[in-house]
């Protein structure tokens, strides 16, 4: 066990995957000598060689498209896209081919790959570096989308993604890359894909969130609970598609109230789907309509305003009050 930040856990997970399975190959821009713009691949090129940790030309469609061929021909590519805002030029490859090749070849070709992408804002990055557009991908049948909220899950989910028979989009919350440390086992382990985690049990309101917002919500919990005399149950979704209905529905049936918190813009964000399905399946257990707290429905602004774009403490607080006072 070692104390690690989330980005160190990603690095450790990648190292473990490379060491455990010779089919794993990392490719992307600046991931070799430079160790990645966030240092996620630091030291890996030196350790495993330029054929396993490959600096590619600057070409997102090429990186993801070549990964389709690599995966179909027996390797397990782990392409890195530097920022969520840069994935769009590879978007066609993801939605037209990565997500569909299994179905389009009736299982003859599969593309087990893990596309790693830092996402979310609040790191004072330039324009277009802070998008949280997980909905584009969660909306695409055939893709699995995961996002860890802590170092332990980061390594475990990453290793599970590498072993997954389906292509996985692995969303790394940049905001908490280095925010805190946690004990992470040295050996290989997996955190199961498709299972949410109850971060904290409670009786009155279920708060469902993921990625960097898990920490924001957990920071808000003591004050909210103390002021209102309630107990919040907090769920970290971890897998955003296909998401864990059992855990979510069981919790909502227990508490009767749900609030969804995400960084992505509210309009058509994943919260809309969660809310719709909770209403469809748990309506008789609900004491109040499900509330959503998402980013404002505008492009992620330049950094002076980005903290106002993401859900703030006040907005989370209001949503809790709304479901309590309905």
């Amino acid at each position: 066990m070692r104390e690690m930040t989330l980005i160190q856990a990603v690095n450790d997970g990648l190292r473990t995957a490379l060491a455990d399975d010779s089919r794993v190959i990392l490719l992307g821009e600046d991931i070799g000598k430079n160790g990645g713009v966030f240092r996620a691949t630091e030291g890996l090129c030196e350790e495993f060689g330029e054929d396993r940790v490959v600096d590619t030309p600057l070409a997102e469609a090429g990186i993801i498209g070549a990964s389709v061929g690599l995966a179909a021909n027996g390797l397990i590519p782990v392409p890195e896209i530097q920022f969520m805002g840069f994935i769009y030029s590879g978007f066609e490859q993801i939605v037209s081919h990565v997500a569909r090749l299994r179905m389009r070849s009736r299982g003859r070709f599969t593309v087990p790959m893990v596309i790693r992408v830092p996402y979310g804002g609040r790191i004072r990055a330039p324009e277009l570096h802070s998008d949280s557009t997980e909905t584009f991908f969660a909306h695409t049948p055939g893709l699995t989308v995961v996002s860890p909220s802590n170092p332990y899950d980061a390594k475990g989910l990453l290793l599970a993604a590498v072993k997954s028979p389906d292509p996985v989009l692995f969303l790394e919350p940049m905001h908490i890359y280095r925010a805190f440390r946690q004990s992470v086992p040295d050996e290989a382990y997996t955190v199961p894909i498709g299972e949410a985690r109850v971060v904290k049990e409670g009786r009155h309101v279920t708060v469902i969130t993921w990625g960097a917002m898990v920490r924001d919500v957990m920071d808000a919990v003591p004050k909210l609970e103390a002021q209102r005399g309630i107990e919040l149950e907090v769920i970290d979704l971890r897998t955003l598609a296909p998401w864990d209905e059992d855990t979510v529905f069981a919790s909502v049936r227990k508490t009767g109230r749900a609030v969804i918190v995400h960084e992505a813009v509210t309009n058509l964000g994943l919260g809309a789907e969660l809310s719709a399905r909770i209403h469809e399946h748990c309506i008789l257990d609900l004491e109040a309509p499900v509330a959503r707290v998402g980013g404002l429905d505008v492009p992620v602004p330049l950094f002076q305003l980005e903290d106002l774009h993401a859900p703030t403490y006040t907005r989370i607080e209001r949503a809790i009050d709304k479901v309590l006072e309905f």
Binding site: T56, G62, G65, M103, F109
Partner: protein
């Protein structure tokens, strides 16, 4: 044409037989579409040599990475004809590729298959396996970003891949001159450190030689090749468009004067490898082959609605299981109302 000393006679005959089969298949498919027995279909007549001669130059372990018009190459490399018919008939069974056949599924978005070809070749290189990928594309695809990214990857990583452009002069209605200001597509290879050459698409032997040499160069570590074959599609882009709106009168007829199938037929006869008797026998055999494939396609009965959920994920997520169950119950209700046959597997 001189009798080739570097190509076995059997191979020349095989090329001709496959090209003849493809031409007849194509004409029959267009008629099937007109009769409403298959859906929209992209004809390939005129491009038979490009697809047949190039693919016959591959080894069994090599990959064919096709576009929607390269079902000819797919069949030559081992995909059953009835699967191609089923695909254009809108049945997902048509997507089935036999497990020992290295053919990628039809790619519809333009040029997107070229990075896949590079990736397949890259994997072979990393695994030290003797495999080459042959990626097909059209002149229009050379305008897309994916083409350039694939060429660049292939050049940078010296991949065992052959990019084969069937320059058929039109991207739907837009002529070659509107795709690029360069004189040829082959010359673009130079910008990527890739070997580039242009061959006459009406000369099956020239195509065969070009691909054969490119494959052995790739297999020996000599890197990628871009081959541009000048060709022409006599018909429309698909059965949904009308080429008389965008092509000068007489142009297609002019191309027919150097038709690949006729030229090869003449050469084989000159070499003493072909005659009327063989031609009659071949025509009969082709007719039977195509009839039998059509019969298989049309014998399948109603499409299995549960194919909707197959192969989307390795295992079915709960919400999809629920949608599948709902669909099944809707279908049984419909079946009672309309007396349609019930879903077979349930």
């Amino acid at each position: 044409m001189q009798k080739p000393s570097d190509i076995a006679h059997e191979m020349l005959v095989r090329m001709y037989r496959q090209m003849s089969l493809l031409r007849e298949f194509d004409r029959r498919s267009v008629r099937l579409q007109r009769a409403g027995r298959i859906g929209t279909y992209p004809p390939l007549e005129g491009q038979e040599a490009c697809q047949v001669a190039s693919t016959l130059a591959l080894r069994a372990q090599d990959f064919v990475v096709p576009t929607y018009r390269d079902y000819g190459a797919m069949m030559v490399h081992g995909v059953p004809m009835e699967n191609i018919l089923m695909y254009w008939n809108g049945r997902s069974e048509g997507c089935e590729i036999p497990h020992d056949v290295n053919v990628f599924p039809i790619a519809v978005p333009i040029a997107t298959q070229l990075p896949h070809a590079a990736g397949l070749a890259w994997a072979a290189k990393l695994k030290k396996e003797d495999q080459v990928a042959l990626g097909f594309f059209g002149d229009g695809a050379s305008s897309e970003g994916d083409f350039h990214e694939a060429m660049n990857f292939a050049g940078v990583f010296k991949l065992p891949v052959v990019f084969f452009c069937e320059n058929n002069q039109y991207a739907i209605s837009v002529p070659f001159a509107r795709q690029t200001a360069t004189e040829t597509i082959a010359q673009k290879a130079a910008a990527y450190g890739v070997t580039g050459l242009r061959v006459p698409g009406w000369d099956a032997v020239a195509i065969y030689r070009a691909v054969r040499d490119a494959v052995s160069r790739a297999a020996e570590g000599g890197g990628p090749t871009l081959i541009e074959a000048l060709t022409y599609r006599y018909g429309p882009h698909t059965t949904s468009d009308d080429p008389t709106k965008y092509r000068p009168a007489g142009e297609a007829e002019a191309w027919r004067e150097r038709d690949a199938l006729h030229l090869l037929s003449q050469s084989l006869r000159t070499f003493g490898l072909w005659d009327d008797e063989l031609e009659t026998a071949l025509a009969k055999e082709i007719d039977e082959t195509i009839r039998s494939a059509i019969a298989i396609m049309e014998s399948l009965g109603p499409v299995n609605p549960l194919h909707l959920f197959d192969h989307v994920y390795a295992s079915l997520p709960k919400y999809l299981q629920r949608q599948r169950d709902t669909l099944l119950s809707e279908l049984s209700a419909d079946a009672i109302r309309t007396s349609l046959p019930k879903e077979p597997s349930q």
